[in-house]
């Protein structure tokens, strides 16, 4: 069984546990809290007001990893949700209906629901439902999709205007005046975390890569996504980079031997996270890059939050520098760069039923990489949240067949 060794994992677990503790405390103290989505978000604004951010996606993900998602999904289907609706939403809806949110629970009823509509249309529905169930005020931030190659000034103006409108709402909710210097400080913490995360990912260009940029990235997505803007997250990545640089110097990777370097596209099957990982570890396959780890932000190529222009840099991040607000074809370009610059041998696409943003059209992606770029590509299917869509035997067969064939091709190429 593959086991990631290192203090980074433990450190990540600790700070995430602390965050959950903060949420539980807010249930008792009534400290202001707000729902917000992970992808391309403006959590910096909430942190500038000391509003505790709550991420329903992360709660859903945690429930799935702990194999607790199915009863909530079934509950939601009794409420009328379809088998074809996103299971993240269904798990959250069922969890809410079963009393998971509120003063007697571990997650507080939010004072505000901030829907950062960044690519994912389901986000809008999800937070409309939350607003209805929890009777909490809903604030929509409409982030124009990246429709052209460059950032449009009018799009930036629109998002910045909405951020200012959000600031006015946060002032009412907290009774505090907006402090631009506090926002600048928060943006500096974000920038430092982004520097660390980008550096960590860059280190995976080494062979062996010091960590699995898919499976281990998911541990680190806590600090970079949930805790971005906090000093703790910035410190975490400073420490993580030191550990990874040591690992690179020592030629140490997450597996005894790195035999195949892969790029992975799509979220993992959380209810079978460990089993899924083991299927790749069995072949010595290590992810050197992943697209899913960029849902919160694409930091690899230099973009950072900027305390000198906090609102503009927050807005630009939301529009341009996260995977969900970018067209599918830009994801192809992103993956192509990953394959080339991180010297990957193959692409693995994990197509999930719940998420059409990620998955709809991945057949075309497979066609592009296989037939146009001639990158060996495997596509497998299951779901990120609903355990009913994961068939282990078939998954194992597909993965084994792929890596066997890859091994054979390499043998033939060498001889």
């Amino acid at each position: 069984m593959a086991e990631y060794k290192g203090s980074v994992h433990e450190h990540s677990k600790k700070i995430m546990t602390d965050w959950y503790g903060q949420l539980a405390q807010a249930c008792h103290t009534g400290a202001p809290s707000a729902y917000i989505m992970i992808t391309g978000n403006c959590v910096e604004i909430l942190r500038a007001f000391d509003i505790v951010p709550i991420f329903p996606e992360v709660n859903a993900l945690q429930l799935a990893i702990r194999k607790q998602s199915l009863p909530f999904i079934l509950k939601s289907e009794e409420m009328g949700y379809s088998s074809d609706n996103c299971a993240y939403v269904k798990c959250d809806a069922g969890f809410t209906a079963e009393g998971g949110i509120g003063p007697d629970a571990k997650i507080p009823t939010p004072n505000l629901i901030v829907c950062n509509f960044v690519g994912c249309n389901v986000y809008i529905k999800w937070f409309e439902h939350c607003a209805e169930y929890l009777k909490a005020p809903l604030f929509m931030i409409d982030v124009p999709f990246l429709r052209e190659d460059e950032l449009r000034k009018d799009d930036l103006t629109y998002v910045v205007a909405q951020l200012k409108e959000l600031i006015a709402v946060c002032e009412k909710v907290t009774g505090k005046k907006f402090d631009i210097d506090k926002l600048r400080e928060v943006c500096d913490h974000s920038r430092r975390a982004e520097d660390g995360w980008a550096r960590a990912k860059d280190l995976c260009k080494s062979s062996p890569a010091p960590f699995d940029a898919y499976f281990d990235s998911i541990n680190m997505m806590g600090p970079i996504n949930v805790l971005r803007g906090s000093k703790e997250a910035a410190d975490f990545f400073d420490a993580a980079v030191v550990e990874f640089e040591e690992a690179v110097a020592a030629g140490r990777g997450p597996l005894p031997e790195e035999k195949v370097r892969i790029v992975v596209e799509g979220p993992p099957p959380y209810p079978y996270y460990r089993a899924f990982r083991d299927l790749f570890a069995a072949w010595g396959a290590v992810a050197v890059q992943s697209t899913y780890s960029t849902v919160g932000g694409i930091w690899e190529w230099g973009y950072r939050h900027d305390s000198k222009k906090p609102l503009e840099s927050i807005a630009e991040h939301m529009i341009v520098h996260n995977i969900c607000n970018r067209p599918l074809l830009k994801r192809y370009d992103q993956i192509k760069r990953y394959v080339e610059e991180w010297k990957a041998d193959a692409l693995v696409i994990h197509s999930i039923k719940s998420c059409r943003l990620f998955s709809a059209g991945q057949g075309d992606m497979r066609d592009y990489f296989t037939n146009t770029l001639h990158v060996p590509t495997l596509m497998v299917e299951s779901d990120l949240e609903d355990p009913r869509y994961y068939a282990h035997a078939q998954m194992k067969n597909r993965i084994d067949a792929f890596f066997e064939s890859l091994e054979h091709r390499r043998l033939v190429a060498r001889s």
């Binding site: 409420m79 009328g80 949700y81 379809s82 074809d84 609706n85 996103c86 939403v89 809806a93 509509f117 690519g119 994912c120 249309n121 389901v122 809008i124 529905k125 409309e128 439902h129 607003a131 209805e132 809903l138 929509m140 931030i141 409409d142 124009p144 999709f145 429709r147 449009r152 009018d154 799009d155 103006t157 629109y158 205007a161 909405q162 409108e165 067209p327 599918l328 074809l329 192809y332 197509s351 039923k353 998420c355 059409r356 943003l357 998955s359 709809a360 059209g361 991945q362 057949g363 075309d364 066609d367 592009y368 299917e381």
Partner: protein, 379 residues
């Protein structure tokens, strides 16, 4: 099926599809994927907006299934298939909108596989509360028109745009009249007939559509019609992928008078006329933000859709709502949950039947609808 000379004209237009539409227009044409699109922009630049609703069961999927998974709606796949089989009927461009994640990805897949086509994607605003909304929408309209002008190498002036607004206003007003007439006297105009009258407009220039509607309305008003024992229903959920005509016919035969629906919603989008004077971009933006019909593809929490549905039920004196989402349609299936919850609270009966564009048999669904209708009629 009943018929009149006007309806025969409509059926011929529908049978001829995009190919005949383009031939009649004798100019560039753009396929408009659902739901709403700013028709006036294209029309002002001399481009005919044509409804793009997939293949509606008329082609076998030979290529699209390999690009899109099984859990993706039919309309997305069959729309892509049309291009693979060169059956776009002379459309030189397509426009997609921010209605759902599938439509967005479809635009990308189209761009990669058919680089010879003009493809545009419009991000329609989802925050009508924002003071910055009008400026954003106007900038998006200008951006899109600029791209269209580059494509067809023809400029559209503000006067051209205002003229197009007038023409589309007229057609939309006539469709609103048709719907009001059907709600008041459903025995005079069937849902099938109303559907074909509206749908024909997706292949016509607006003035030609208005002519048909004027003739149709005059003829319908003159009818006697005999009221039958049917329940008055609102149909909700088929705003993108369109139901087969057989499904609509079945709903009526099974005991329903359709007094309101969201079929072909994008072409009947505004609840009142767009302002015809002054800045046309400002007029279209204002109309989009404040005079759009409620839709599962548009967020407007000033008047949540589930509460608006109840108001509409009361306004049309409907006895029930029949939800008809297309299979795998995310926006419709999500909205169903809050719709259902609210209708239960208000004790308004409702039924859910999913459909696919390529359905051709409706017996099982007919039994469900008949049972539902009878339970209300004889309660």
């Amino acid at each position: 099926m009943e018929t009149t000379p006007v309806l025969e004209r409509c059926r011929a237009i529908l049978a001829g599809g995009a190919a005949d539409a383009v031939a009649r227009w004798k100019g560039p044409a753009i396929g408009c994927f659902p739901v709403y699109t700013p028709f006036e922009l294209y029309h002002a630049a001399g481009v005919l907006p044509v409804g793009l609703f997939g293949a509606e069961g008329r082609v076998e999927l030979a290529h699209a299934d390999a690009r899109f998974q099984s859990f993706v709606c039919s309309i997305a796949k069959s729309t892509l298939e049309l291009a693979f089989q060169k059956k776009l009927g002379g459309l030189g461009g397509l426009v997609f909108h921010s209605i759902c994640d599938v439509a967005r990805n479809l635009a990308s897949v189209y761009k990669r596989n058919f680089p010879e086509l003009f493809i545009e994607y419009i991000h329609l605003p989802q925050n009508p509360n924002s003071a910055a909304g009008p400026a954003y929408m106007q900038s998006e309209l200008r951006r899109v028109l600029g791209r269209v002008e580059q494509w067809v190498e023809r400029k559209a002036s503000d006067d051209d745009l205002r003229r197009s607004i007038c023409l589309y206003n007229r057609a939309r007003a006539l469709m609103r009249e048709l719907y009001a007439l059907r709600s008041a006297s459903p025995e005079k105009v069937s849902a099938v007939e109303a559907y074909q009258l509206v749908r024909a407009g997706t292949y016509l220039a607006p003035e030609a559509h208005s002519e048909i509607l004027v003739d149709a309305l005059a003829e319908i008003r003159a009818r006697q019609g005999k009221r039958m024992d049917r329940i008055r229903v609102i149909i909700e959920g088929a705003f993108c992928e369109q139901p087969p005509l057989g499904l609509i016919e079945m709903l009526e035969r099974a005991g329903c008078y359709v007094v309101d629906d969201d079929w072909v919603a994008g072409w009947r989008w505004f609840t009142s006329d767009v302002k015809e004077t002054g800045d046309p971009y400002a007029a279209l933006a204002e109309a989009y933000l404040n005079a759009s019909r409620p839709s599962s593809t548009r967020h407007d929490w000033r008047r949540p859709r589930h509460e608006e549905l109840v108001e509409r039920v009361r306004a049309h004196k409907a006895q029930a709502v029949v939800f008809t989402p297309a299979k795998f349609c995310e926006p419709a299936l999500f909205d169903y949950v809050l719709f259902r919850r609210t209708l239960d609270r208000e004790k308004i009966p409702h039924l859910l039947i999913e459909f696919e564009e390529k359905m051709w048999t409706f017996e099982r669904t007919r039994t469900e609808v008949e049972t539902f209708a009878e339970s209300l009629l004889f309660d």
